[in-house]
Symmetry: C2
Subunit: 139 residues, 2 copies
């Protein structure tokens, strides 16, 4: 595979924005539970979820946050993920369509290190995750 | 299912520490790529990974971070995940055994809101992820 394999990747420049959308299915939540080991019944069991403030099963926050990983891993070329801050603001339910958006908001003087604003919104344009990421170009 | 379903959960007190270990398999990385949409070849393609500083495929940082979700979702009762900061310090390779550990380090005065130190180490006791989480008890 080519060293520079990244079809359609964008260049890191201040203001550059990329996004990615995906609908959360029950099978995604079940798979994430299996991979992560997070089998909290709030995500998996309707009867249990009814006893919580959420009333219905919700997606793991880290599952929704994984869509930010998809942006960083596929929309720009050869980035190394240095850090990520996440605020889990609103619940995400099965069937919600999440759009993750990353926007370049700062560049470290003299280095190929960038800060991205990273947000996830649902189909009603409500922000469900807010945060920032720091990435470095692996040149 | 019982409202208080949480077998063997620990009480949130300053200094309380919980941990969870899991070995990263190639199939976990492939499943995470599918769920998240992060099909960056660094995680999936040996030939491509050879062209990078890592030389071999590495796990997605967010896959390793998902073990922190497992701690928060299964080791304490009825927590709501408010925020998470992550520093991706070292690469994680297929076959590495990761131990995620969360330790209660602060409590918000008058509220059931706690800060946890959250770290992930590999089988050589090297810290691969460092960070903090903030959680609230859903009472």
């Amino acid at each position: 595979m080519d060293k520079n394999y990244y079809p359609n990747s964008k260049t890191m420049q201040l203001g550059t924005s990329v996004s990615f959308s995906k609908t959360i299915r029950q099978i995604d939540i079940a798979s994430f539970a299996k991979i992560s080991g997070d089998n909290n019944p709030l995500h998996l069991n309707e009867d249990y979820a009814k006893t919580t403030r959420f009333k219905k099963p919700i997606a793991h926050g880290m599952l929704t946050a994984s869509f930010i990983s998809a942006l960083i891993g596929t929309k720009f070329a050869r980035l190394i993920y240095l850090s990520q801050n996440l605020k889990f603001i609103k619940p995400v339910y099965i069937g919600d369509t999440i759009t993750a958006t990353a926007t370049v908001i700062a560049k470290k003087e003299g280095k190929e290190i960038f800060t991205l604003q990273t947000i996830c919104t649902n189909q009603n344009n409500i922000i469900v995750i807010d945060g920032t990421a720091v990435v470095m170009i692996d040149s």
